[in-house]
Symmetry: C2
Subunit: 111 residues, 2 copies
């Protein structure tokens, strides 16, 4: 159940284009909240909320540096989420395979 | 922007253990809303809400069969989401590589 909650929190955190954009930005290097807010054209307060959501999901870490808060990519790996997506892909593929077989066996059958 | 919204909707839909469970169940075959609700111990009304969220994300399709509504796995493939997760994985790996290089170059350096 704990793992379920972790996946829930991760997927909720990622279900926002600004938050995904923040992670992409941090992939190129650490940045302060002010530096993160500017390109997205949102307020510092708004960015702080996004940062907190990402931090709670382990996708981002923050560090106090002087008067600023420096954000970096967090330790959370998406392996469990990727595994789930892969299982979903297999389920869809099998469904299509079964549909294909069904079409094959009914081919030539008089209507 | 359209694609962003689609990813957002998909991730939000998946950020719930019941909804992920419904998709896993449908991977084994179609089911009515009543059949879906029973194992999760939730009301029909509750399950209908989950089904609507999944349907809006293209992860599930429904079909009226007599008095029941039959649910099946929808056509939505998670390729774009998987691509994003893969990019995130590479970013994390590169960050760890840089950290490793940094540790290597500072090794043996007098403090």
């Amino acid at each position: 159940m704990v793992q379920y909650q972790e996946i829930d929190r991760t997927l909720s955190a990622l279900a926002d284009p600004t938050r995904r954009g923040v992670l992409e930005r941090l992939g190129r290097g650490s940045a302060t909240i002010t530096e993160l807010a500017a390109p997205f054209g949102i307020s510092l307060t708004g960015m702080k909320k996004h940062v907190r959501v990402l931090e709670e999901a382990g996708l981002l870490t923050t560090e106090k540096v002087g008067r600023s808060r420096l954000c970096s990519l967090g330790p959370r790996r998406l392996d469990d989420v990727q595994q789930w997506m892969e299982m979903h892909r297999r389920m869809l593929d099998e469904r299509l395979d079964r549909l294909g077989e069904l079409l094959e066996t009914t081919k030539g059958t008089p209507r």
